[in-house]
Symmetry: C2
Subunit: 401 residues, 2 copies
Amino acid sequence: MAEDSMDKPFIVTCTAPVNIAVIKYWGKRNEDLILPINSSLSVTLHQDQLKTTTTVATSRSFQEDRLWLNGKEEDITHPRLQSCLREIRRRARKRHNDGDPDPDTTGLSQKVHICSVNNFPTAAGLASSAAGFACLVYSLAQVFGVDGELSAIARQGSGSACRSMYGGFVQWIMGNRDDGKDSLAHQVEPETHWPQLRILVLVASAERKPIGSTSGMQTSVQTSCLLKHRAESVVPRRMVEMTEAVRRKDFPAFAELTIKDSNQFHATCLDTYPPIFYLNSVSQQVIHLVHRYNKHYGETRVAYSFDAGPNAVIFTLQQHVPEFVRVVQHFFPPDTNGEDFIKGLPVKHAALSEELKQEIGLEPIPRGINYIISTKAGPGPRVVEDPSQHLLSPDGLPKKL
Amino acid sequence: MAEDSMDKPFIVTCTAPVNIAVIKYWGKRNEDLILPINSSLSVTLHQDQLKTTTTVATSRSFQEDRLWLNGKEEDITHPRLQSCLREIRRRARKRHNDGDPDPDTTGLSQKVHICSVNNFPTAAGLASSAAGFACLVYSLAQVFGVDGELSAIARQGSGSACRSMYGGFVQWIMGNRDDGKDSLAHQVEPETHWPQLRILVLVASAERKPIGSTSGMQTSVQTSCLLKHRAESVVPRRMVEMTEAVRRKDFPAFAELTIKDSNQFHATCLDTYPPIFYLNSVSQQVIHLVHRYNKHYGETRVAYSFDAGPNAVIFTLQQHVPEFVRVVQHFFPPDTNGEDFIKGLPVKHAALSEELKQEIGLEPIPRGINYIISTKAGPGPRVVEDPSQHLLSPDGLPKKL
């Protein structure tokens, strides 16, 4: 092999999705291995709207591992990043020692350059760490020729990242082992399973940065007696019910469980000492709005779910999207005429009856919601074949800084 | 006995206090008898600041039972009112039949006129039903010559009313019997037990009327799995711990339990389907403020408790009142210069350090709190001896309408 070809970096670019838990993960039984106190279940969002793109390059010429996130070089010594890197290299080495002659594994001793960007603003308050670590692990696995089960590695970067390793409907089984080898994500149904399901992310304007989920869940595990009961006695039953609801495409059952589980998660936050609040007055208004909307129709047409921030994730069926978006726009009047208010999948215009407005009867909160991202369930991580999409140049540095 | 003297009504006036639960009551196991799913513990507030006054008159000349509340005639056929009236008359009749010659009981067949007023605005959002039913039952008992255990009768008017039958620190033992005869209030310690303890009611400006506690707790019992766990597994332990903290006058232990129990009650409201919100953004700000204030001093100097509304009830020790009131005034700046901001027990002026303000570091919410009622623990119901205080004239009609 010529010297220049050996120095030329090996570059892989991948994308990975965001996921939204409908049975929530909150609390670890092992902080280092990121082992949860209960199983969880999520919907993977479509990457056409929300994704992380990561390029990983290896080269003999690289002096050290380096990392750029959203255009800025970051400290790669972060313990959870190191866990992922170490575990991928360990698995690659094992495979190499086992005699696999795949030439990709020759880069084992080489340093990596990693460059990652999100196609959504961090300010949107969407948990970017799940997509980020899923994309990192998936890309590293391509570079080092690691295949097989990858969710356990992604889990060690960020718990919920293991669920972003699959498309569609995904469960993260908590497992029982102390070494975490059985704490893995599995696909329940693929993204094609329930084409009518639609997801709207209502990006709320937050007054202040809420407490981070890592320290938040630590405090909850230490202080909330309701969280312990939830993990041991409530979630196991709900996991079965939710899996069934997804399989049957039973929207009312899916929606009611989603709502109840979101609220129970926030209840355990409130039962934490000191209490943690992620729901602000805008979130409360969304909650009231959804329940009154459903009440108006006498059926559960819309569900909400909130993670560790004030953004609402709305689940509904395709046919209800246009009217519900109008309802949101009415009760959270945006500054603009609404052109930029809806991003993502196009939403048809719909009429809004006076009767419905009156029955909901809430005081509008101007600019309470910045915009809506309209999306649906989507696939898991993907390799980007087009080399023009690499985020790193052949010199191993980011194309745009 | 002359005809005119027989027609002259027999009039009794009593007062009764408000109480604030520090271990919360939420949920009934029997709606008719008002039997709770867990025991609770409260502090009786001093009647110098908050009280209900009730006059009950009986006379041969009265044609029917009548009721005036805060100057307005109300329907006396309300089932819970009727429960109290019926039970008092039953007990009086029993005593009469048992041969007690007390002449007061001769009014047994006579109709009653009841007139009741609160010395605090209903708009303050303080649970007036506890003081109201306690006062009603205590007054009726005087008129009909019923003595002995009265809390079980008050309980049938409004659950928490049974705790307003005693001063100081009061527990309501849930009992086990189906007939509710063992579901009674008992005094843990009298109002003189802990003279340093102070109570501040922060009357919040509410945007909308929250859901009532009667229907709220019904929905919670039906839908919240966390409430069931709380009632069965958390409260029994906390009742023991709280009783001990009160007996020992251990403020940090008392305060932390008070905070945790308030938050857990609101957590079960959030776990209700549809969820119930009593804490608004002002309440959240009070919560953050208290925790940061305590953190600043490295000890738990202040506790909060919220019932089914946004008002905060603050517990602290006498020496911390002046500064804490200043903190509240700073982060909830009132419209006025503060003269009317503090009602009740006088509060000395205190300085407020820049350091403390900065460490709390919240964005002030102008007019978020309407005013503060400064009070302390106080005695149970009392007979008012001065006839000029009767709310009913000798003709049996309210003095002021």
